[in-house]
Amino acid sequence: MAALVVFGVSFGVLAVAGGIPGWQAVLMSAIVFAGSAQFAAVAVIAGGGTALAAIVSGGLLNTRYIATGVVAGRVLPGGPVRRALEGQLIVDESFALGVAASGDPGKPDPEATLISGALLWASWVAGTALGALLGPVVGDPSRYGLDAAFPALFVALLWPLLASRRAVRCALGGAVVALLLAPWTPAGVPLAGAAVAGLVLA
């Protein structure tokens, strides 16, 4: 939980540094509640990309939640509406905690998943609010290396995913495609190209 507060603070600070108003950053954490997608969307906006490009990049990162949702759907209680709502609390961290509680990757413990999801959501929103308040105090983001915090953060998010050779192949492919597209396409296009590379190479 503490880790997610810190993560939220960094999101709040970086979002404000990237030109997102503080209240929008907090609203985003409250209703999106998907860290990597939020960071990706803010990075696209900060890089001069359009709102649509930001939504597409963030949305593509979230497609993995369809897969975790299917797995969690096997154990979540209630009817369709309730299950779809419960799905909103499933993020990487709460899913992992649910799996840790049951000991079976195919059957996360529903109670552990949902309770940790709710606590993580509160930590994430509170952290973002704190970061959004601190952001303007920090001032020029490059002075404290905050511009480097963005790519450092994506490295830290990426690293645990590189558990299989297939994932490494997708990451390398995505990086190469983005590298080739970036000099001559608007912000967002290199990410879309990388997404295609990820689908093809997986």
Binding site: V6, T63, A67, A156, R166, L199
Partner: protein, 93 residues
């Protein structure tokens, strides 16, 4: 932007629990999206205004984050170290 992303995310998170098991092949394909996108984000964040990556303090910060991730340092440590390394290099005369 916030509302749009919220809607897309809500659909992604909400649809899973309603679906029967998706075919293994589809799940495998979509599993490739996150690593590819995150790697692309690292690259595009390192690029200057012309889209070509720079060798600068930011790159050094990212190198520190790679090293720490590899040593399994906690998430926050990697991010803070990346920022601190870049800031220190810039503070040098």
């Amino acid at each position: 932007m916030v509302l749009g992303l919220a809607a897309v995310t809500a659909v992604c998170k909400g649809i899973g629990p309603l679906l029967p098991d998706v075919p293994e092949a589809v799940a495998r394909r979509t599993a490739g999206l996150a690593p590819a996108l995150l790697a692309a984000l690292v690259v595009t964040e390192l690029a200057g205004a012309d889209g070509v990556p720079r060798v600068d303090a930011k790159l050094a910060g990212v190198a520190a984050a790679v090293l720490l991730s590899w040593r399994r340092a906690p998430f926050a440590v990697c991010v803070v170290a990346g920022a601190v390394v870049a800031a220190l290099l810039r503070a040098l005369p």
